[in-house]
Amino acid sequence: MSRRISFALLTWVEIRKVLDTRSSLAILAVLTAVAAALVVGFALFSQRNGVPVTFAGLAGSIGLFTALAMPLIGILGMTSDIAHRTTYVYYPLLGGRSGQFWAKVTAAAAVALALQLFVLLLLAAVAWIAMGNATAPEVFRDAAGATARGVVSCLLSTMFGVALAAAIRRTALAIVAVILVTLVGNGLILTLLPDASGYLSTLTAGAALVGGPEAPTVPEVITSLAIWYALPLAIGWWITENGEA
């Protein structure tokens, strides 16, 4: 009867905690609506300007949405218990805190991925409807690559929010930090430290997905991931494990 709580069960409970309040459902609904509006709007804009509507093109149009919306899911998942002091309810149930911490990380990734997959399905549907005279192979050229890039960039964006929220531990501050770093910080780094921007920018890993001649080097990607993902996540884990609830 009395066996340890499995990681799968912890993760399932954390997923449920992300979805079980009116406010969290409202946020997800708004994000979905914004994504749909962006996709449809971009498709209409492309058609009016005579640009062929392709799945890969539409997928590229929601890049900024992914960069800003997915961290929000990560932040809400990581800080909900801290914000409402429900750690008082859950920590006493658990032998240690690490399991729940990583379950939160996994749950945030799972919810964000589900939203991203829904958006990609929407993209496919819109691309299909807007196909016009083009053939399916033309519309869905590089669909697999675009899907893979969409999934990875979704995970990267979510983990960015997760990592900052884990270290900052305050919902509002983490949201402000994500927006400032993404929209202002990266620009400042590029302007003030152009030679080091590949190492310091949050967008380096995402840029590596696109590839091409401007693609960042492996050391740049590793450094960026270490600064913006691994380090805050490690700080957050240490605080969770050793701090006062």
Binding site: S2, L9, Y88, P92, A245
Partner: protein
């Protein structure tokens, strides 16, 4: 000092110490809560009660010492939530979650059937508000919900911080009856409160803490020793005769007598001597209160008291 072997199947606090900066808030706290009993943990505000309980719950780390449940540390238990129920803070609940969902999440983690959640909803009087969000509940209702979470898995141990806080008279009585029944079934209860009445009504043992140190511990009877009964009779001089005959110390206070004897014995003796009583009341509570105030005032007011200070 409590040792692991002494703790048996109960809860043992062994040399628990906690500081915040240079301030020692819990200082070498050691005591045992025997199984099948209720231990009252008394102390004024800021004495270190809540910090001690937070350490027991794993919310704070002790600088030294440990808390054992049936001889094992909480984090070493396979599934702590199934063995120990904690009532810590009724405001530490997600306001946007429904009552049922709050219980359901714990039920999922503890792998309990939905039927148990329904049972607890009925038991705690929350069935009618199961779909309400926590934000819409009164403090008393939230306290009931926290109690429901604590007893959800039918634990062996209950650690409670001011569990009747915010409850109406019915709710407080229900908690007291529940705890008494729980202990009679072999459960171990640690009941922290700054309200003497709450603790005295149900506790078998009392541990008093002040400024982070245990200042006294013992059975409720030990704390109540020397307690008096307030008595009034239609013929006060005859009551005085009875007290003298029985060699009970007494003193007159207005129309009443303060007699150092249990009310049952006074009642029987007066019946035997055909003395009509018009008032008979135990003043043990005030005696305990006097002791509580004396022990926690920084100086031991009663050095000759049979109750020896521990610290």
């Amino acid at each position: 000092m409590a040792s692991q072997s002494e703790s048996g199947a109960g809860i043992a606090f062994i040399g628990v110490t906690k500081s915040y900066g240079r301030r020692v808030v819990v200082d070498s706290v050691s005591f045992i809560c025997p199984p099948g009993s209720i231990t009252g943990f008394l102390g004024p505000n800021g004495a270190g009660k809540s910090t001690t309980l937070r350490i027991a719950a794993g919310l704070s780390r002790a600088d030294a010492g440990e808390v054992l449940f049936a001889g094992r540390r909480r984090r070493d238990l396979e599934n702590p939530g199934r063995c120990i129920g904690f009532v810590l803070d009724p405001t530490a609940l997600h306001p946007g979650r429904s009552v049922q969902e709050t219980l359901k999440l714990n039920g999922l983690l503890l792998e309990l059937p939905d039927a148990r959640i329904d049972e607890v909803l009925v038991l705690t009087g929350l069935a009618a508000v199961r779909r309400k969000r926590v934000a819409a509940l009164s403090l008393g209702m939230r306290q009931r919900l926290v109690l429901g979470l604590a007893i959800l898995a039918k634990p062996q141990f209950l650690v409670m911080d001011e569990p009747t806080n915010g409850l109406d008279a019915d709710g407080a009585l229900w908690v007291r009856n529940f705890l008494t029944h729980f202990a009679s079934e072999g459960g171990t209860v640690l009941l922290s409160s700054h309200l003497l009445r709450d603790v005295q009504a149900v506790a078998d043992h009392i541990v008093m803490i002040d400024r982070g140190r245990i200042v006294a511990a013992g059975g409720v009877a030990e704390f109540s020793r020397g307690a008096a009964t307030r008595v009034a009779a239609t013929e006060p001089w005859r009551l005085a005769e009875v007290c003298s005959k029985q060699q009970w110390p007494f003193r007159r206070e207005g129309d009443t007598f303060l007699v150092e004897a249990p009310p049952e014995e006074i009642g029987l003796a007066c019946l035997e001597h055909r003395v009509a009583l018009i008032h008979l009341a135990n003043v043990t509570e005030s005696a305990l209160e006097e002791k509580f105030l004396a022990l926690t005032s920084g100086e031991f007011a009663s050095r000759n008291n049979s109750l020896e200070p521990i610290a």
